[in-house]
């Protein structure tokens, strides 16, 4: 069952078109993440769904009801903002109950909902405090609570964790996931942080200049990016790209990059790789094997820089005349200048057409 459905949505500010005929269907109870760098239109899309921006064209359905012209309060949504947006002069309790008071919900019902939300988010001791007396994490919890008391089926999150420090961010991330698992609401979550996207989402929509580049579950996005943009955007450090040409010899396919030829016979191509075709070969740093006895062919490379990160060790190497990164276990150390033997698992590689930048 569809919970939120965006149909042919367009939005322009004067001459600037931010969204152009965008379509998106979100299932009931699904956690959908809109991921993209700033200015890609992800927050704009969320604001359109919330009703805070008037659309130029297209329709928005929430629970099969056309809400394109409805006020935000009548759409059955709750929203959480990046800057918390708590009313500074009201106590936490008043913040939570403000919307219900405006909607003239009877007082016993308000009390019931507020105490339930406070219990779920464990903010009962804070109810009498003002927002200025709360820490960042507590404030964001209250902001989530404000969406919670509205008793709606669709939650909208606009970069809710971006204002928090790294430790709190990972804590609250887990809490949001737990919340979704227990409430089973539809959640639309905007972020530029790929870790948040990969960990939270049922499906991720990667956006760029107002267009959804790929809409899929996190593992598909990570393993089989649809185009060069998605491949480069997801993963940290990002995927290594080698521009080259396809060759076929003795029934095997290769991608030749300068003096190096990568054997890509094992690559699960969608069509056929034509000899002479210009392609981009993408290899994730964590999919490269270093000094391991393996099956496929072996390439030699020199270590340029070593970045030990505790659990992992990141090596920057020179291969085929260009720099590439490789992630290995933290205990294995290679001083700069040492030579390593690399082998690749082409089953998890990506090959893109150099011209269209789409996956082959």
């Amino acid at each position: 069952m569809t919970s939120v459905s965006v149909r042919d949505l367009s939005l322009s500010f004067g001459a600037v078109t931010v969204l152009d005929k965008l379509n998106l269907d979100i299932d009931h109870g699904e956690f959908l993440v809109l991921l993209g760098s700033s200015g890609c239109g992800k927050s704009t899309l969320l604001n359109c769904v919330a009703g805070l921006l008037d659309v130029t064209d297209g329709q928005i359905f929430i629970h099969d009801r056309n809400v394109t012209w409805e006020e935000p309060k009548d759409r059955g949504i709750g929203m959480v903002f990046q800057s918390y947006a708590l009313y500074p002069q009201m106590s936490v309790e008043k913040n939570l109950s403000f919307g219900l008071k405006v909607a003239k919900v009877p007082q016993p019902e308000i009390d019931k909902r507020v105490s339930r939300a406070a219990e779920i988010l464990q903010i009962q001791p804070l109810l009498k405090r003002k927002p200025s007396e709360l820490s960042g994490g507590q404030r964001q919890r209250v902001a989530i609570g404000r969406a919670l008391v509205r008793d709606v089926d669709v939650f909208l999150f606009d970069e809710p964790l971006s204002n928090l420090d790294a430790k709190l961010r990972s804590e609250l991330r887990v809490e949001i996931k737990r919340l979704h698992q227990s409430l089973k609401n539809t959640m639309i979550y905007v972020t530029h942080d790929q870790i948040e996207a990969l960990t939270l989402a049922d499906r991720i929509a990667v956006m760029k200049s107002g267009v959804i580049q790929q809409l899929a579950d996190p593992m598909t996005i990570y393993n089989a990016p649809e185009n060069l943009f998605v491949a480069g955007f997801i993963g940290s450090p990002s995927m290594n790209f080698f521009r080259g040409e396809v060759e076929t010899r003795e029934g095997r396919s290769f991608v030749r990059v300068g003096a190096v030829a990568f054997d890509v016979t094992a690559y699960p191509a969608r069509g056929r790789l034509h000899p002479g075709q210009k392609v981009v070969l993408g290899l994730r740093p964590e999919h490269v094997k270093v000094d391991e006895a393996g099956t496929g062919e072996v390439h030699e490379a020199t270590v340029d820089i070593e970045e030990p990160m505790g659990a992992d060790n990141l090596l920057w190497l020179k291969l085929a005349g260009q720099s590439m990164s490789v992630r290995i276990a933290g205990q294995r150390r290679y001083p700069p200048g040492s030579t390593v033997r690399l082998s690749f698992d082409m089953g998890v590689a990506s090959i893109f057409d150099a011209a269209t930048e789409n996956r082959l």
Binding site: N47, A50, G51, L52, E71, P72, K73, I77, G78, M79, F81, Q82, S83, Y84, A85, L86, Y87, P88, Q89, F98, G99, V102, A103, A143, R146, R150, D158
Partner: protein, 313 residues
């Protein structure tokens, strides 16, 4: 035990000696009579004197009798303090046919200032809020017109306004003057409020809309409680501006409704009889007392509000 303790103190003294030899340590000592201090404090003192000396002369003169003033030592403190001039200025000085002093003008000014300030601030704050947050169609045009209004000299508009007020039937009344003050306060106050509201986080406004609050609920419940500083600024601007106004007061009212400033002018500039400097000084101070009090009471909030309203535009 004893030995060890002794040893350790000896050690620490040695260490302190070594550290002293290292050179400077900790906070740098500050000289009171540095060149910088002399310049800073010197300038401040000169400027303060420049402003305070006239005030001193006024207060001193207003406390002297006329014979003492004729002696001519304007800086000398009064030999015999008398409050006669103050009483006379407030209750007995003559302007035209009336001889009831400034008190009549004071109450007129109160009756002009209070409604003008309240109405202009109420309207301008709603204007500013609508312009900053609701972005209705034509908002930019409306705002531009208002701003242009701030740059047109008042004098140009006096005659047309006289006609408009006459047609409305309020020319020469306090109501007419209140309307004029409200209208002329609008451009600058709207700008002030718009900039302040535009500086408040937009997400707050969005959150309130998601919560279902409408135009007035958001204004009254969310925006107003957050805007005390800017309201104080607007109040100070308006109280002082309207209280000190002379031109509109003299043009748009009849003599029985003249505000305090106009009456002060009539007392000080009367050509007949002896010039009573002490009464004039007392009358002037009395007239300036209201804006002065407002500044002293709300100075801190004023500075905070001006900064808050000015930063973002």
């Amino acid at each position: 035990m004893d030995n060890i303790a002794k040893n350790s103190t000896a050690l620490s003294i040695d260490a302190a000696g070594a550290r002293l030899k290292d050179g400077p340590r900790g906070a740098r000592p500050k000289r009171t009579l540095s060149r910088r201090n002399i310049i800073v404090y010197g300038t401040l003192i000169v400027v303060s004197l420049y402003y305070l000396l006239p005030l001193y002369v006024m207060i001193v003169t207003s406390l002297k009798g006329m014979p003492e003033i004729r002696v001519g030592n304007i800086f000398a403190p009064p030999l015999e303090v008398t409050f006669e001039p103050w009483v006379k200025a407030w209750a007995e000085a003559c302007t035209g046919l009336n001889c009831d002093g400034l008190s009549r003008g004071f109450w007129n000014s109160v009756r002009i200032t209070v409604p003008s300030v309240i109405i202009s601030i109420a309207v301008a704050s709603v204007n500013g809020y609508a312009l900053a947050n609701w972005r209705f169609k034509g908002a930019d045009l409306f705002f531009t017109i208002l701003i242009v209004g701030a740059f047109i000299p008042y004098q140009v508009m006096i005659y047309p306004i006289v006609i408009v007020l006459r047609e409305m039937g309020v020319y020469g009344t306090l109501t007419g003057l209140v309307i004029v003050h409200t209208i002329f306060g609008m451009p600058i106050l709207t700008l002030l409020f718009r900039n302040y509201f535009a500086g408040l986080p937009e997400e707050l406004f969005k959150a309130a809309r998601v919560d279902g609050a409408g135009f007035w609920t958001i204004y009254l419940k969310i925006m107003l409680p957050m805007s005390l500083p800017i309201f104080v600024v607007a109040m100070i601007l308006q109280v002082t501006g309207i209280w000190n106004d002379f031109l509109f007061g003299v043009v748009f009212t009849r003599p029985e409704y003249y505000p305090m400033t106009v009456q002060l002018n009539n007392i000080v500039n009367s050509v007949q009889g002896v010039k009573e400097y002490n009464v004039n000084m007392a009358a002037t101070i009395l007239t300036g007392l209201v804006p002065l009090t407002v500044y002293f009471v709300s100075g801190r909030l004023f500075v905070r509000g001006i900064a808050a309203g000015a930063v973002k535009g």
